[in-house]
């Protein structure tokens, strides 16, 4: 399976070719590749070679991070929400209020703790009902697709942060991703209550590790879009929510069928703002 992606040396690595693949200008449609590097550890930098390639590269600076979790069916939603909310907590700011002379003030982001019912885990998320609803909807669809696929239950959900670049007519706006988080999910079936209890705890611990990984990535302080002017703010942030302002993002998912080798891309896209391809 060809794996193509926007790479920054650090994130994208082709298992087959053993080298990073960098193709500038690739649209997101190609990023449906299944990552075979299934380890839960974050991909380490591809090495000097990768970075050297990168330097030759012009525009794209998309980071890609992969996380993998194994959960039981009823834990899917909570596990996904925990991860997605944690990422969005870091990638949301308060609402911008532009004042004259190009200055702006920023609103306040509140947080709240969420206890999981099926996992021994609690996570903090942004206090925004709209954001929560949007994520729950996306995760709900992913879960249904995973359950209905009838396969072994392997799938992945992608959270992508992008920037819009206005193009002139007749071309439509381009969406350029700058960070992609891929969460691979492996659904297990458990036989009895005792195993479920153990699974609760284990998944809780695993999620703790994932969150530590996420925080580690966030704190590398790598590329973030520049703070936009008032006219550009909608190209960088999602200004449609009333209480917080996350970076523009979209959630997509795909399910792997039981054969594994060929990927049935049941690709659905939940588009956060109107997006024309």
């Amino acid at each position: 399976m060809g794996m193509r992606c926007l790479a920054e040396g650090r994130g994208a690595y082709c298992q087959e070719a053993q080298r990073p693949i960098i193709e500038p200008g690739l649209s997101r449609a190609f990023r449906s590749a299944v990552w075979r590097r299934g380890s839960s550890a974050l991909p380490s930098p591809a090495g000097k070679a990768g970075r050297a390639c990168l330097q030759a590269q012009a525009a794209m600076n998309c980071r890609s991070e992969v996380l993998e979790v194994s959960v039981e069916g009823r834990q899917i939603e909570e596990a996904m929400l925990a991860v997605l909310h944690t990422i969005l907590l870091h990638r949301s700011t308060g609402k911008f209020h532009y004042k004259k002379e190009g200055t702006y003030s920023i609103g306040t982001v509140g947080t709240q703790d969420v206890d999981c019912d099926f996992i021994d885990f609690t996570y903090a998320r942004v206090s925004s009902e709209e954001l929560d609803r949007a994520l729950r909807k996306a995760v709900g669809e992913f879960k249904d697709a995973l359950r209905n696929s009838g396969s072994e239950g392997v799938g992945q959900i992608c959270l992508e942060f992008y920037q819009k670049k206005k193009s002139r007519w007749p071309f439509s706006d381009e969406c350029i991703p700058w960070e992609v988080w891929t969460i691979k999910v492996n659904v297990v079936n458990l036989a009895n209550e005792q195993e479920r209890q153990i699974c609760r705890e284990k998944v809780g611990e695993k999620l703790c590790e994932k969150l530590i990984n996420i925080v580690e990535v966030m704190n590398r302080h790598e590329y973030l879009p520049k703070m936009p002017t008032q006219s550009e703010v909608d190209n960088v942030f999602d200004t449609g929510l009333k209480d917080v302002q996350p970076y523009l993002y979209k959630v997509s998912y795909q399910i792997t069928d039981s054969l594994g080798s060929s990927v049935t891309t049941t690709m659905r896209r939940l588009i956060k703002d109107t997006l024309a391809l």
């Binding site: 209020h97 306040t108 982001v109 903090a124 580690e216």
Partner: protein, 557 residues
Amino acid sequence: MDTDLSSQDRKDLDKFIKFFALKTVQVIVQARLGEKICTRSSSSPTGSDWFNLAIKDIPEVTHEAKKALSGQLPAVGRSMCVEISLKTSEGDSMELEIWCLEMNEKCDKEIKVSYTVYNRLSLLLKSLLAITRVTPAYRLSRKQGHEYVILYRIYFGEVQLSGLGEGFQTVRVGTVGTPLGTITLSCAYRINLAFMSTRQFERTPPIMGIIIDHFVDRPYPSSSPMHPCNYRTTGEDNGATYPSVEDSQEVCTTSFSTSPPSQCVFTVTKAHFQTPPPVVMDTLKVPMMGLAFSHQVGCSSFLLLHPLFAPAALGVGSADMGYPVIFAGGLNAAHPHQLIVPGKEGGVPPVPSQPAHGTQADHERMVMCTPLDGALYSAATPSSSEDTETVSNSSEGKSASPHDLLETIFVRKVGAFVNKPINQVTMASLDIPFAMFAPKNVELEDNDPMVNPPDSPDAESPLQGSLHSEGSSGSSAGNTHDDFVMVDFKPAFSKDDILPMDLGTFYREFQNPPQLSSLSIDIGAQSMAEDLDSLPEKLAVHEKNVKEFDAFVETLQ
């Protein structure tokens, strides 16, 4: 080299680092309070939300942090550390985590202070919010209560990791480079607790793997006192804001309720009742329970409790305001009681309670939860005009302005909800819990024994008036004459206007059920013999049904 940094930038940076340190401590302590935190997002910027994050400031925590920092900022070799430890009700303690805010020499000269550093600090705080829920101590702190409590201690200087035992792990929350150095926030946590988080922390002698004997002399440079992480939330009607609490001194030395906010935090076990509760904190001296004493019918009673609330959210500017405290029930005339109210840090200013009026011959009600639920609170009876006094604990720097007093008064604790749901409604202007009980400012000051030593108990505190909720008349008959005080048991949310039998009465009545007849000897002996005889028959019947049982068992799996 500071030449690169303009003085304005330097000032800004120092300010950012200082507030970052204070907010870090707030986040850490709040995450160990044992309850879920919830704050609201606000689209319009308020001037007071540092780093664009809604993090409440618990005044006591801020005070402790400022004290530990003593005007300095984290620098190389001088780190700010927050130590989280666990203390069992038997007095054993163990360090769980140490959160360190360090500064090293690696400078990033090109970075823009007012913008990039600020945003990165904000991101680091968000990471801290995420990580504090992830370490093993979080789950332990959520379960704190009767058997153990979680304490925090802030110190400044060198990091001491020796108390964490062997094999502790470290997680780095993040770093932010500044022109003066790189700020690093990390946590070192004990790991042999990891398996404890899923088990109940049992109150038995040393369990394998858990190090219980921890009375080690801690060679801390600054021996700052430990403080419990506890608080109470107020009516959660709006859910979002959280007027936290904290009142480490007065508090609830023993345990903290993890139950819903309607219950009081103070847990008193019967065994402790007559004696001062075990002191969790070194500085606490709270022989509060000694204040409970027998009463006579119709009077006395007494009560006291410390509201764990510190209406921090009330917008009191000064972080050093006093903590609300106690209620002193009046007593029989001529028996003024000493209310011992722990002061801050070692002082225990005795607070005389007001002697009771002659007119207060009635029931002065002291409401107390049963030990396990734990709370002491006072509720007054409707008809009597007693002198429940709210004593505010005057801590240093507390201004005696009516406004402050108002805020430090708590009239009812849990169980306040009993009669008046509007207890939860706060006065629009002041936004205090139970504000409706708050008397007018002037009277309040007059009633405060700290401000005016009580002389003759002629003034009826308006508090009483409000405390005497209408409902309590119905249950006033519930005086029990126990050793300590339980005059009336008013469980939360119980209504006494509907039936003569309310939850409390029901509970009391059925607390001691009669013995099972099968356990009484004479009947027992006979039926035992009969049982034995009938056993074979029963077995035969069961064997016939064996298939059904098997099928049933299979459905369970």
